[in-house]
Subunit: 490 residues, 2 copies
Amino acid sequence: MTTNVNNSEKKKEWADKKITSRTENYSKWYSDIIKVAELAEYGLFKGSMIIKPNGYAIWEIIQKILDEKFKETGVKNVYFPSLIPEKFLKKEAEHVKGFSPEVAVVTYAGGKRLKEALVIRPTSETVIYEAFSRWIQSYKDLPILINQWVNVIRWEMRPRLFLRTTEFLWQEGHTAHATEQEADERAKMMLNVYKDFVENHMAIPVILGLKSEAEKFAGAFRTYSLEAIMQDGKALQLATSHNLGQNFSKVFNLEFVDKDNVVQHVWQTSWGLSTRTIGALIMVHSDDKGLVLPPKLAPLQVVIVPIWSNAEIKKIVVKKANSIKMNFKKGRLISIKLDDRDVRPGEKYFEWEKKGIPLRIELGPKDIEKNSAILVRRDTGEKKSVSLRIIKKETHKILDEIQANLYKRALMFRNNRIKSVDNWKDFKDEIKNDNFVLAHWCGESEVEAKIKEETKATIRCISFDKKMEQGKCVYSGKPSNRRVLFAKAY
Amino acid sequence: MTTNVNNSEKKKEWADKKITSRTENYSKWYSDIIKVAELAEYGLFKGSMIIKPNGYAIWEIIQKILDEKFKETGVKNVYFPSLIPEKFLKKEAEHVKGFSPEVAVVTYAGGKRLKEALVIRPTSETVIYEAFSRWIQSYKDLPILINQWVNVIRWEMRPRLFLRTTEFLWQEGHTAHATEQEADERAKMMLNVYKDFVENHMAIPVILGLKSEAEKFAGAFRTYSLEAIMQDGKALQLATSHNLGQNFSKVFNLEFVDKDNVVQHVWQTSWGLSTRTIGALIMVHSDDKGLVLPPKLAPLQVVIVPIWSNAEIKKIVVKKANSIKMNFKKGRLISIKLDDRDVRPGEKYFEWEKKGIPLRIELGPKDIEKNSAILVRRDTGEKKSVSLRIIKKETHKILDEIQANLYKRALMFRNNRIKSVDNWKDFKDEIKNDNFVLAHWCGESEVEAKIKEETKATIRCISFDKKMEQGKCVYSGKPSNRRVLFAKAY
């Protein structure tokens, strides 16, 4: 039952793990960050993901903040079955075309072959709108504003942790309205809820806009999205909000009697944000030393590392460190940890740097003599001796500065990587240089497809910010009245 | 596209719904309560459940309270894939025997037949412990304390909302420890976390104990459970906590090097509580007028119903009602709603009673003259005029009283339904009378099976509270040293 061994031959991989640099191999760097910060790992079959405690804690913060924001707009949470009879998925023609290739199908259950196959939800429009058809009779039942936090399955052939996995976690909001205008306003309202969250909490600047016909959600009338740039110049879509028009309501017979006693179809929206955003969080802020987290998204914001040379001194510094920690239990709360393990301070610094803790407090006997401590920022590496009298205030201040700095840094990076181009050669060059490109486009899907074929760049969005401007399509030379955003994307 | 109709022919079913009385048909009463309180409904295929906003809000409260309690004991949340390669489920012999008949199997995904079938998790021991085998090397990696809030699928042939559905929501905790004692302590600790939650928040008294061999979890060494009595005298298991011993750790090779450099297998626990508890919440407290919720589990605790006879008076009472509501925004927070819809007060009373709101505040012009309001308790129907000067304090006090009263009422009900019996005739009679029965049992599984066959009663648990006592098995006449708890169960 038990065996004697000389030593544990197994070793924690991450402990000795060197992080590949971003310039050497960006993709490898990304995987290394996830490994050393212990965020996630692959599961038992290709493309499946295990979200580990450090990664899941980030998702819990995302959930908490967004859930509150949704509820402030009147949204309530629900839970719909994860299994959908195949024929329901097939009801909306565009929708089934978009999702059929990705679904996982249950054919046996309870020891028997099922008469009708069930697919695991890739998204829940169909199953939710079938219920809406029973819930909605009159204008008095509208609007319906619901959301669910669930897992979804979309079979992925080229898996990448957080970015593309066979299963991921997300929220999907679904609404029904009496008028087209109200639905479009709701779709844009939720896009702005996402923008507020992504910019102010995740510290990631985003570009808001409309998706092209080719890039929109399968079944949507209009898809709005948030686009951000990663450090390798690729775009990542952080969330989408769809004005579904009456596409689903006609197929699912979502009729209501309006105030004038006329039967009408409802207007709908759906909107979602997933664990994919954690991939963006990593790729926007982290560096070659490891994960970097904005304080508002960091499950652990501050770590105190006491420094000692012998047991007697240990007792003194740990006691002092503990009193610093306790001092944070009042007023504005932060998440703080005292790391008093019997491990060399340097090793601890290294570990917490890799794990992205925004601020480190170092406290040794000399600091105590001066009644001060050293604060070390994760984002800049900057060190500062701070009097213990003002350490609490200073810690809050620096955390706010880190949050602001990460956003500013990401914004500057992005602004430097957006290029306005007016001819096809420059277009190809700037895409090759891993930039975001603003260019005129004639609006034709065939042209969009050709551009993608030749450069791998897609239209990320037709930005809301871009003013009307006469010009010629960078590819076809046909007239265009607005620049759109092109980039290679995750 | 639009049609003129004279009137909406569809009608909200619940609005006119009469509730079947408990004595007339308990099972029908249960379904009626779920319908009128709009908690849940069946989905598109047999046994699937849609949890509606009112039902899901209860689950969110359960999650919030329990999640905090788990974290206080050092548990961290994670997410594991919902799909498990079939061969992994089959690794532990008892486990596969228990779950194989209930699983849903994915055979196609991404447009292709899978080489190896995947089952949707009925529970996640196997997939989680495979990861543990990679995470655990030394005693320094122990204990591992994780939990996940997820959906699980267990195919049900006799569905019943919340109690038995093909899919349900739960949390499953999984831990690994260096010693047998530590694992057993953890299993019991989590049982007590559940007890605290169920008794103090759900207001349901529970009996804690050990499951018999026949009733324990497939793969466990020991299963502990919480048992409660419903108003029809049937038992419902509210949560279970399993000491898994080394059953899984041996199969999954969960080895670690202990402090003395000896390789050992870890000791494990798992523990879970599901949306089934919402079924218990309904069945323990509700009455023939509708849902009754203990204040601590009520998404909406207080509703203010202003009463008016004309528009002028409406303005005055709604204004006053609003000022009462705003007064609750400071200090101890409660969830309070002002119902100023243009609907007769009687209809509102009726609706909020059905939906289980613990306390109603009625406010008419005469009340305002007297600077008072009427408080009406949902649990007892008791009415009381209260001065507006002390209404806030009084509301808090009454909510506390309702919470305490619901527990007390349920406890008295249960104590009246527990019968100690010493012979087989009395045993059969008391089970027939829908009582809980404490009786001697020889400890043999065959005898347990016979008793179930003849009376439908099963051993709910070997209660921790029952002292040793010499006696004879009520069925076999063989010696026994302890009474165990028998009942028919959900």
